[in-house]
Structures are given as structure tokens and as C-alpha cells.
Amino acid sequence: MGVLELAGISKRFVIRENPTLDFKVRVLALFHPRHRERRHEVWALRDVDVHLGRGESLGLVGPNGSGKSTLLRIMAGILQPTSGRVSLAGTVAPMLELGVGFHPELTGRENVYLSTSLFGLGRRQTDALYDRIVAFAELEGFMDSPVKTFSTGMAMRLGFAVATHLEADILLVDEVLAVGDRAFQQKCLTRMSEVRASGRSIVVVAHDLDLVQRFCDRACLLVQGRIVAEGDPAEVVARYCLEGVPMEPAHAI
């Protein structure tokens, strides 16, 4: 039994094609089919099983729209699967859109306390982590300014620092390493290695296949919402590179 088990997970999104469905459109729809509500379904995930062991790092690779981000959001408990079962034995720290969710008018400090409490941390727990978070983000001297005055890079550093210091059992990382400069990327990798070395699990979504091979113990290749290959990162990446995998647009939330 790992720290996270996903069994038979499927996720369906209903996409409405009409931009608005106001009263006028609804009345027109009575007379003309052109105005009727058009919707179609997209299966972002189909019957996905994932096993994540304690202390393991798992890479998710695949083309855009293959369901990687949706899968990460289901692991985080933010999205509910349409069917299937999620069993989680621990806490999750999702790092999905770095810096998103910070309130621009609040100061760096206020945002840190708000963010950690979103994950259920009490004030004293955050007090104990605060200095390390600020030091890691290299934002000493800025924490009492509103986040709207931060550069994008500063906000991202703060977001990364908060998420990796939550001391959750599982860290979910979505493409954060594609942004930020080299020094920041290097620092993130070092920090993720520390998190892994401390016995916690990590799930990484990355287009940087080199990173997946170096960092992950295991990898899954997702194509059109299904896992088509799983196992040794080098083999999974090789398979992804060899096969011209078909692309299909899908939606993630």
C-alpha cells in the first residue's frame, strides 16, 4: 500500500460551446435549433491507475492535452473524478500554478500565512516555517510590501518556497521548472531532492524529459487520457520520443 493509490480514475468534462446562455438565447432556442445549447464531452482521463510509494518520485510525461494536469488536480483533491477511487494516506502539497492565488494587495507575509492556512496549517506551525520560507525565496526585506509590487519571478519563488516547506507527504509539481531562470531552476531541483531525501513522495509533470530521467524513480506516459507506458523513466521517455504520439486537444481546469 503506497501513500497514494488511484484506481480506475476517469474524468469527463462537459464543454459548452455557446458562450452565453442568457434568456434571449433560451427563447430563440425554442424556435430555431441553431440556438440550442451545444455541448460535448471530453474524457480527460480514462481508467487510469497510479500507485505512488512512500519516498518515490514519479514523472508524468505526455503531449499537451493528454490529461497530466487533470490527473495532478485529482491527486490534489481539487477535482473530483467522474469515476474511480482515490486513496490517500497522508497530506498533499500541490504546486500547480506558482504565485497564482496570491492576493496582489496583501503583503508577502500576509500571503504566506493565508497560503499555509489553505493547507490547514495553524499560525504557530507557520511561524516556525516562516523564516526558512523567506530565506529560501530570497525575499528578506520585501515581505511587508504588497505582492503586486513583486516581479513575476519573486512571486514564483515565494510560491515554490511555501509549497516545498509545507512538509506534506506528497509534493505535486506542475511544470514549474519550465519557468524561472537557471539559478532558480537549479535551486528548485536541489530543494526537490531534499524533499525526496527526507522520505516524502513527489509527482512531477514536466516537458523537460531530461529532468524526468534524472530526477524520477518511475515515469508514466499519458496519451489521450490513458497511461500507455509505465516504468523506468529512460524507457518511458524513449517510447515517448520514438512514437509519434497523436495529439488531441483537451481541457484542463
Binding site: 481539487i78 477535482l79 500541490p94 492565488g101 494587495e105 497560503s115 492556512s117 496549517l121
Partner: protein, 256 residues
Amino acid sequence: MIRDLVRHRELIRNLVLKDLTLKYRGSILGVAWSLAHPALLLAVYTLAFRHVMKIPVPHYPYFLLVALLPWNFFATAVSAATGAIVFNGSLLRKAAFPREALPVASVLFVFAQLLLGLAVFLPAMALASGPGLTWTALLLLPLLLLHVLFTTGLALLLAALTTAWRDIAHLTEVGLVLVFWLTPIVYPVEMVPGFWRSALALSPPAAFAAAYQDVLFWGRVPAWTTAAATLTSTVAAMALGLVVFKTMSPTFVERV
């Protein structure tokens, strides 16, 4: 749900602090606005209803105040709750915290301002030229508790429904104005003609207004019908709000 909220009390506290901070940061009068706003309303309503409409109630400004302050809390909280989920998409997408925290925090934020108003106006009522307070003022505590729970129930309901039908926010705005004038707040219930007065017995806001006027202004224990109306409407609002919210909350992220 209660256990979830207790575990996330720090989140609720931070959300309330965030709203308070954002509301007053950068304004010169700051928190004083929370008092200036009802004071100005009070002045205008007193001018209109005592001096122009000649409503025959002694100490009219105090009569008005004891039901107007709680109404302002109720109306502001309910209308803010319609946006509690739909305007917080970025928080919903960030973590899987209990969604109830958002409408609960938005109600408590407004409630903090009611407490501030009461803390300033009640002593004035007891000391100055007012009608004075009696021991029944102690009943204010259970009454406030019921009122917060009633408001929270409606807030949960409206916050959830607005994610599916944005019209709810507009309906709520209009509905609140109608209900305000149909509720005996600026005029005493005795001025309402017989048939309509019995119809008012079915209105929860009217029951709450009557209860506040009883315990703070008239210095009497509310009639059992008033007490029963506040209690049953609180239980009903909470039950309905919780069921609807629980049912809809798994898909909030996909709707906002």
C-alpha cells in the same frame, strides 16, 4: 463539516483578516467607516421617517437603530455570500480546503462590523438620553448566535446556487431591497394593517427584527411566536444551506 471548519479555523481567521485589511487599507478614516455608514443611514432615515412621515415612536432613532444594524449585517453578508465562491476561483484551484470556509468567512467578516457597531451604539443607548436598556438586553447573545447561523445557512445556499446560476446574485440584490421595506424596521409592526401583520409572522427577517426591538428597545422578552420563528428559520436555513452546498461543492472548481 464542523470538524473540518475547526481544523481550518486558521484559514477562516485569515480570510476574515484579509477582507478587513483590504477593506480599510489605504482609506483615511479606516475602521471608522464601519460606524460612519450606519450613523449616516440613521440620520437620513430619522429625518425622513420621524420628521417627514411622523412615525409615532418615542426615541425613534434608537428604535430604528436596534433593528437596522442587524439588518445591515444580514443584507451585506447575504449579498457578499453570492460572490464568496464565484470570485474566489484562484483559491479553489490552489488547494482542497473545505469550501464552506469561504462563505463562513464572508459572513463573519460582516458580523465583526456588526459587533463593532453594537459596541459603540449600545452604551450610548444605555447612558445618554435614550430609552435605556433592561436585563432583557442579555437575550441579545443567543439572538446574535441564531442570527449568525441563520445568515450562514442562507449564505451557504446562495454561494452554491450562484455557481450554477449567476442570476442568483442579481435576484438577491433586488430581493434584499424588497424585503427591507416589507420588514418592520423603519416603522413599528403596529402600523401594519391586520391581515398583512399576520402575514409578517411568516417572515424570518421580520421575526428577527421584532426580537431585536423587544430585547433592546422595548425591554421585554420576545413573544414565543417570535422566538419560535427565529429558531425554526435558523434550523431550516442551515439544513437547506448545508445540503445544497455539500451536494454542489465537488464541482465548484469546474463552474467558476
